[in-house]
C-alpha cells in the first residue's frame, strides 16, 4: 500500500466535502444547525432561567400562617409565578388550557399538620399527616421535570427550615416519591446521542460518493492506474474518520456554546473522539454495503436510510423517549453502544476505564470491524461495476 496514493485520494475526498454544498451541509452545517436548535430549545444557560406559572388553591382552615408562608416562599423562588385561585374547577380549567403549568392544592389540615409537627417534632405518632396535591401540565416537558423538585424543596424549607430538608414529616406531596433535585437539562440527556446521530449520516455520504465515482466513470479510470482496492477504500476510511473528528469537534463546540456542560475531563473528550472514530469505520462499512446494493445515486440514498433509520431511532438521542422494548432492540445497533459510552462519560461522569464503557467500546470496535470487512468484501466483489 502506497501512502502517497492514499493521501492523494484522501485529500480528494476531503476537498469534495469542503467544495460540495450538499456534502458540506449534511456533514457540517446540519450538525451545527441541529445542535444549536436543540441546545437552545432544550438546554438552559446559567443566566436564563425560565419561569413557570403555578396556580395555588389554598383550602387551609387554620390561621393560614403556614400556607401563606409556603406561598410566599414559592413566589420568592423567582422561577414560579404564583397565581391564587379560590376555585379548584377554575384552576383545573386553566391548567388544561395551558395557561398555567402546575396546580398546587393546599389541604384543609395543612396548618394543623405543621403545628402538630412542631408541637412534637420527634414523635411521628402525634403528627397529623396530610398531602399537598400537585398537578402538572403533562404537555410540558420542562414543567414535569423542573417544577416538582422546586415545590419539594420550598415545602421542606417552609415547614422544617432550611437545615432540615431531608427529614420525614407529616406533609407530603401527592405524587412526589420520584422527585429529586436535578440541575440537568433535557439537552444534557440528548447530547451524548447527538454525536452518534450525526456520525450515522456518514453512511449516506460514503455510499453517494462511491456511487458518484462509479457513475462518472472515475472508479473505472482509477482502476486503470496501479491503485489497489485497499488503497482506494483506505482513503475513504481515513477521510471519513477525519470528517467524523471534525464533526464531533464542531458539535462539541456548538453544544458548549448553547449551554451544554458535560461531566468528565480532557480524557473523556479524547475518549469520545476515539469512540466516534471507531464508529465512523462502521459507517464506512454500511456505506460500502449501500453502494454495493445501489445502482444509482438516488437508490444509494434510499438504501443508506435502511441502515440509518434503525440506528437513528434505536441508537441515538431519539431513543431517550422510546419504550423499554425498543430500548432493548437498540442493543442490536452499534450507535446504541456509542451513545451509551458517551452518556456514561458525560452524563454519569464515569471514567473511561469503567467496565461499562470498555464493554461499549469493545462492542463498537467489533461491530465496526465486521461491518467494514463485510462492506469491503461485498463492494470488491459486486460493487465496482
Amino acid at each position: 500500500m502506497k501512502l502517497q496514493r492514499v493521501a492523494a485520494l484522501t485529500k480528494k475526498n476531503l476537498l469534495l466535502l469542503i467544495r460540495d454544498p450538499g456534502a458540506l451541509f449534511m456533514l457540517i452545517l446540519f450538525p451545527v444547525i441541529a445542535t444549536m436548535a436543540f441546545g437552545l430549545a432544550f438546554g438552559t444557560t446559567d443566566s436564563g432561567q425560565s419561569t413557570y406559572e403555578i396556580g395555588v388553591v389554598n383550602t387551609d382552615l387554620s390561621e393560614l400562617s403556614w400556607s401563606r408562608h409556603l406561598i410566599g416562599n414559592l413566589s420568592e423562588t423567582m422561577i414560579l409565578n404564583v397565581q391564587n385561585y379560590s376555585d379548584s374547577n377554575a384552576v383545573q380549567s386553566d391548567l388544561s388550557q395551558g395557561k398555567i403549568q402546575a396546580v398546587l392544592i393546599i389541604p384543609e389540615d395543612f396548618g394543623s399538620s405543621c403545628d402538630s409537627y412542631w408541637a412534637s417534632p420527634t414523635d411521628p405518632n402525634l403528627w397529623i399527616n396530610t398531602t399537598v396535591t400537585l398537578y402538572l401540565d403533562s404537555g410540558s416537558l420542562f414543567a414535569t421535570r423542573a417544577i416538582p423538585p422546586i415545590i419539594q424543596q420550598t415545602l421542606s424549607t417552609s415547614i422544617y427550615g432550611s437545615q432540615q430538608t431531608k427529614i420525614s414529616g407529616p406533609v407530603n406531596i401527592g405524587s412526589p416519591s420520584l422527585v429529586e433535585v436535578s440541575t440537568l437539562t433535557t439537552f444534557d440527556y440528548f447530547a451524548p446521542g447527538f454525536f452518534a446521530f450525526f456520525a450515522i449520516f456518514l453512511i449516506m455520504t460514503v455510499s453517494q460518493s462511491f456511487i458518484f465515482e462509479r457513475e462518472k466513470g472515475l472508479l473505472r479510470r482509477i482502476r486503470t492506474t496501479p491503485t489497489s482496492s485497499s488503497e482506494f477504500i483506505a482513503s475513504h476510511t481515513v477521510s471519513n474518520m477525519i470528517t467524523a473528528m471534525i464533526q464531533v469537534a464542531i458539535v462539541f463546540a456548538v453544544a458548549i456554546l448553547v449551554g451544554y456542560r458535560p461531566l468528565g475531563d480532557a480524557t473523556s473528550f479524547v475518549s469520545a473522539f476515539l469512540i466516534l472514530a471507531i464508529f465512523s469505520l462502521c459507517c464506512v462499512g454500511f456505506g460500502l454495503i449501500a453502494a454495493t446494493l445501489a445502482k444509482s445515486s438516488g437508490a444509494a440514498t434510499g438504501i443508506a436510510f435502511v441502515f440509518i433509520m434503525p440506528q437513528m431511532l434505536l441508537g441515538t438521542f431519539v431513543s431517550v423517549g422510546l419504550s423499554a422494548i425498543a430500548k432493548e432492540a437498540g442493543r442490536f445497533v452499534p450507535g446504541y453502544y456509542v451513545t451509551d459510552a458517551l452518556t456514561s462519560l458525560f452524563l454519569r461522569g464515569a471514567p473511561v476505564t469503567s467496565p461499562s464503557i470498555l464493554l461499549d467500546v469493545l462492542v463498537v470496535a467489533l461491530y465496526s470491524l465486521v461491518v467494514l470487512i463485510l462492506g469491503i468484501i461485498l463492494y470488491g466483489k459486486y460493487g465496482k461495476t
Binding site: A8, L16, G217, R223, T224, P226
Partner: protein, 248 residues
C-alpha cells in the same frame, strides 16, 4: 521487426448473447501510433478495456509491454495511461488538481510531477484555466484535462479512446500536435476514433474494425491505394457498404 508493445491473440468478448469482439488478432509495435477505426459499437472500447485490465476476454490472450493482461495486470497498469471515451474528471477539483491526483496515483516523485503537470497544462493550452474547477470547464477543455490525466505520468503505452470527440477544430489540432509529440518520444499509442481524417493525419497504421472483427489492417496510404480511395472514409464504405458515422 520492431519489438511488440501490444499483442492481441484471437480474443473474443461476449456479453450475454452479444459478441463485442470476435476473434481479434493484432500486434502493435513499440513506438507505433496505431489507430483502431470503426463506428460506434464496433468493439473498439471493449478492446481497450481488455488491454488495460478492466475486462477479461471470454477467450484469447493479451500481452501489453510484455506482460500477460490476465496474469500480471498490476505490471501493465504501471506502464499504461488511459484516456477514456467518456470524460472522467472530478468536477469539484480544479483542472490542475485532477492531473496532480492521477500523477500521485502513479506514485510520481513530487518534482517530476510538478514539472509534468506544468508541461501538460502548457501544451494543452490549459494553464490559464488550471485553477478553475473542472466542473465549470467547457466540453473541449474537459476532454483536454481528461487526456492530461492519462499522460501525466509519462506512460510507455497510451490508450486514447476517442480523444477528440466533440472538440472544436482548434482544440482538435492542439491535441493532434500533442499526440504527434508522443510519437516523437517513442511512446506507443493506441488510438480509437471514428474520425477518418484524424486517423489519416496521425496514425502509422490503422486497423478497421466492424462488428467486433478486424476487417482491414495497413498504413492509411496503403489502404487508400489498395481500395483506390481518396480517403479512409471511402475505404470504410467499400469495406462495409456503410458510412462510419452519420453526417453531422
Amino acid at each position: 521487426m520492431k519489438e511488440a508493445a501490444i499483442i492481441i491473440e484471437n480474443i473474443t468478448k461476449k456479453f450475454e448473447d452479444a459478441t463485442a469482439v470476435d476473434g481479434l488478432n493484432l500486434v502493435v509495435e513499440k513506438g507505433e501510433l496505431f489507430g483502431l477505426l470503426g463506428p460506434n459499437g464496433a468493439g473498439k472500447t471493449t478492446t481497450i478495456n481488455i488491454l488495460c485490465g478492466l475486462l477479461k476476454p471470454t477467450t484469447g490472450s493479451v500481452k501489453v509491454g510484455g506482460y500477460d493482461a490476465l496474469k500480471e495486470p498490476g505490471k501493465i497498469k504501471e506502464l499504461i495511461g488511459v484516456s477514456p471515451q467518456e470524460t472522467a474528471v472530478y468536477p469539484h477539483l480544479t483542472g490542475k488538481e485532477n492531473i496532480e491526483l492521477f500523477a500521485n496515483l502513479h506514485a510520481m516523485p513530487k518534482e517530476k510531477r510538478n514539472r509534468n503537470v506544468d508541461d501538460l497544462l502548457q501544451k494543452l493550452s490549459l494553464r490559464d484555466q488550471a485553477k478553475r474547477r473542472a466542473g465549470k470547464y467547457s466540453g473541449g477543455m474537459m476532454r483536454r484535462i481528461n487526456l492530461a490525466m492519462a499522460l501525466v505520468h509519462d506512460p510507455e503505452i497510451a490508450f486514447l479512446d476517442e480523444p477528440t470527440v466533440g472538440m472544436d477544430p482548434q482544440s482538435r489540432r492542439a491535441v493532434w500536435d500533442f499526440i504527434r509529440e508522443l510519437r516523437k518520444q517513442n511512446k506507443t499509442v493506441l488510438l480509437t476514433t471514428h474520425y477518418m481524417e484524424e486517423a489519416e493525419e496521425l496514425c502509422d497504421r490503422v486497423g478497421i474494425i466492424d462488428n467486433g472483427k478486424l476487417i482491414s489492417l495497413d498504413t492509411p496510404q496503403q489502404l487508400k491505394r489498395q481500395f483506390k480511395a481518396k480517403n479512409l472514409e471511402e475505404v470504410f464504405l467499400q469495406l462495409t457498404g456503410k458510412r462510419i458515422r452519420e453526417e453531422v
